[in-house]
Amino acid sequence: MVTVKLENVTKIFRGGVEAVRDLNLEVKDGEFLVLLGPSGCGKTTTLLMIAGVYKPTKGYIYFDDKIVNDLEPKDRNIGMVFQSYALYPHMSVYENIAFPLRLKKLPKEEIDKRVREAASMLHIENLLDRRPSQLSGGQQQRVALARAVVKQPGLFLMDEPLSNLDAKIRIEVRAELKRLQRELGITTIYVTHDQAEAMSLADRIAVMNEGRLMQLGTPDELYYKPANTFVAGFIGAPAANLVEADVVETERGLELSMLGTRFPLPSDLAAAVQGVSRVVFMVRSEDVKISPGKGFFVYSAEWLGRETFVHIQAPDGTLLRVTLPPGQHVAVGEAVSVSFDYKKVHLYRPSGELIV
């Protein structure tokens, strides 16, 4: 298929909005890369630059080894799927799928064969005579997928293709999409702001914020080794706890002063923050342990079926998110004490970069 490389890509819109800034990214052949980030962070803009609809203000986009900055969208051999489906309302489903092939001026029989192939791949053979307006959302998105597949593109671009579907259909189409991508081995760039979707689909995820790449890595890497506080807070549900802390020296060694109390640091962490006075302490909800004690109070508790999710109020009033292991139960109002699994804790500079 094709590898895609973005080199220092910047997009500034008329009026001065800097939607994407200095983006460097490489998508491997056959890879499923997800662009993840909050609304307005420049995901769609990035995708449309790769599609050739927008031209980068600065930087280069490569397909394999070729710079494609000035290549028209029609010459990029891309299959694209949109959140809004973007089917052509005046054409039947058959004609929608056939459209890219008609533009290639393929012979009639070839078109018919490939349209039917694509339709059967997505289980929509029985819908070919309908108009898009006569289909459900899930069916429309299958048609859109068929239209993207039928031209046998070297690259799939998908902009939140599942966002308009309800939860059940979304999971169904998501599985379909993953299977299709695996089978065809087509390089895919997939945009979403839903981190659960990103985690389940991606080979690698590029997390973006305010037009910049925050971290690029496998779902595992993002979860266990977030490179900055933004990624730490964005990836994972429930969201990780991020607490500002002062590093204080005592006769017993370095301690973190936070949450209205103090926590002694294990020696490896202490070594890493030598000479740093303020840090951001990050711990995931499942790495917080609570035991009967004092100082902290159980603020609220929700039973989620297997584990229990609780908010713990610290002495200074901060609420900590904690996931209890199956079997452990607490009562709201109960006094507890808190400890952390320091192997899984990360410390960041107040500006956001990872220390350890």
């Binding site: 028209e72 029609k74 973007a86 005046h90 533009l103 307006s133």
Partner: protein
Amino acid sequence: MRAGKILLYAAAVVLAALPVVPVILLFFLAFSEHPIYVEGFTLKNFEFLKTGVLFSDHPLYSRLYPNVYTVMVNTFLLALGNMLLVVLVSSMAAYVISRYSFKGRSALLGAFLVIHGVPASVLLIALYYMLKATGLLNTLLGVVLVKMSVDLPLGVWVLKGFYDGIPWDTEIAALVDGASRVGAFFRIMLPLVSPGLFAVGLFSFLSGWGEYIFVYTFIQSSTNWTFSLLIQSLFSEMGGINLALVAALSIVYLIPVLAIFITGEKYLLRVTIGGVKG
């Protein structure tokens, strides 16, 4: 309560009947034996349809008026020319205004509204000189061009609304699917605004068909007359006004309009300014 309702319905019926009254009157007058009053029934007022010659029994008058069929063709050419030009230009101009941002875009849009609001008669003198300078005075083409430029702003506004209603995604999908910008325009955008094209086309046809003031001002030779001018001239003619004849001509003038509305009605009803449903 009941009386109030009856009164309300009565008022509604009267209001609904009002616009029909002149048409009915016109209809009866056209078949009247008397030139001024409604009286009896005859087809003689439609005699001119045989040869197109008016007042065929009155050679002196007859010479003053053009052949009715010539007038009909002129009117049709004016309407058709106006329709084609307005649709052609506004379909493309509206697309560009809707899709591209360029310097002076909003000024242009504002200007369109202002121009549309300027009464045409204000421009008559200036237009007269312009047509004279270009040699288009006293030609149908001249009138078509003037008419088209007056009707254009509204057409562009209406079609811009239709183009605005088409999501960007649809157009981007076409580009990515392998269409050029021009290809996407013809294959996707134009078909999607076709109800708007239909509406704009229809209105500019009718507007050309009914045009009076420009024809009256810019056309002198009677061979270039249109229906509106012919009817007006019969009104102001000395030597006995023949209202029945005027009515008969008016009926002939009216028929294409009715035909268009009856055939186009189903399509027109689906059009809401700014987009189509379904």
